[in-house]
Symmetry: C2
Subunit: 208 residues, 2 copies
């Protein structure tokens, strides 16, 4: 059976993968064919993705991929700065010995990836670090918000990763975050995470 949450998840994955261009129209009939679903399910999926901020709808003109401007990407990053700061602080408070091992392992692999010039690997580790911190922090509300905002940023995230020399700067900041969390110092962890995302915001500004 074709579950409507399945259509929603597949469509979201396709959007995050970059299968659709910003402002591209999402014609319901086409999506039905693409996902082998009924129009009813597609419609429900679209409504959900509107709520997630990935899709926008206009009365009688259907749905299209929402375009996130650079200004909005900066706003989103400003929120992420404070919310992920909270996540980092809380991870520092709740850290177990096993968590510490995981984090230092990610840090080591990050350094290896940067030294080896493996940009794609580093990008994956970046995602892994942030999501591991969220896992450690166990803050459901924060996780939901960060996940949603992250989804809206995918396209800009890609642009970020292509800025030359970015990974070296980013690596040092990530190591500072890991160090503070492993030291179980919430204030330092929050400050380090905020410093990291502040630098992301500065790069975004420089792209304007």
């Amino acid at each position: 059976m074709v579950d409507d949450t399945q259509v929603r998840d597949e469509l979201r994955a396709a959007i995050l993968r970059g299968d659709f261009a910003p402002r591209q129209r999402l014609v319901e009939a086409d999506l039905c064919e693409q996902f082998g679903a009924r129009r009813f399910a597609v419609r429900a999926a679209l409504q959900d993705l509107v709520a997630e901020g990935l899709v926008e709808r206009q009365q009688n003109r259907g749905a299209r991929i929402r375009e996130i401007s650079l200004d909005e990407a900066i706003e989103i990053s400003e929120i992420r700065r404070v919310v992920e700061g909270l996540v980092a602080a809380r991870a520092a408070e709740r850290l177990t010995a096993a968590d510490a091992k995981r984090l230092t392992g990610i840090g080591r692999r990050m350094r290896e990836a940067v030294d080896g010039g493996e940009a794609a690997v580093y990008s994956d580790l970046n995602a892994e670090l942030h999501s591991t911190l969220r896992e450690i922090a166990r803050h459901e509300t924060a996780n939901r918000i960060v996940a949603q905002l992250h989804g809206q940023m995918v396209r800009h995230q890609f642009a970020l990763s292509r800025v030359p020399g970015r990974s070296a700067v980013s690596l040092a900041q990530h190591e500072a975050v890991i160090e503070a969390v492993v030291a179980r110092d919430p204030d330092a962890a929050e400050a380090a995470m905020r410093a990291h995302i502040t630098s992301v915001i500065e790069v975004l500004r420089s792209l304007g």
Copy 2:
């Protein structure tokens, strides 16, 4: 004609007004009658409110008012602490002379309300202060998130306002926020707002 956004807005208003109890079932047919709408529109409205976190749905068992536990209310307040901190800082940066006048006016009326023992008036002014700051900050993303989280908190907010001696403590904190914003000091404004919401969180914890 009965617009489905209209049903959604009315239903949301009813929930925020406290017309429904937590965990109360929302039977589609009843809502149709109550709002004079078709089931189609009610269904779409419910789906939107699920996304807003006010309603929850279970397969084949329909929708009910989502109950927000005290723990979750604390989590939500932790997010609000950092996001409204950002809003306050940004309001301090963007403040105009007219804005300053509005804020000091709200502060003066707050003090009068507390001195006069008018709890309801003070509660309204509280909401007005926070929303005025959001207006001044003009941070769309933050506003959306705060509005959503605030909606989920209504019931607990009510409990808060009934804590004896709360308004005197709260007044001083609000005045500190206003003072810092009017002084155009972003860091002080953020700190003052965080201190304010920290105290809200402590009261919530004490209720557990």
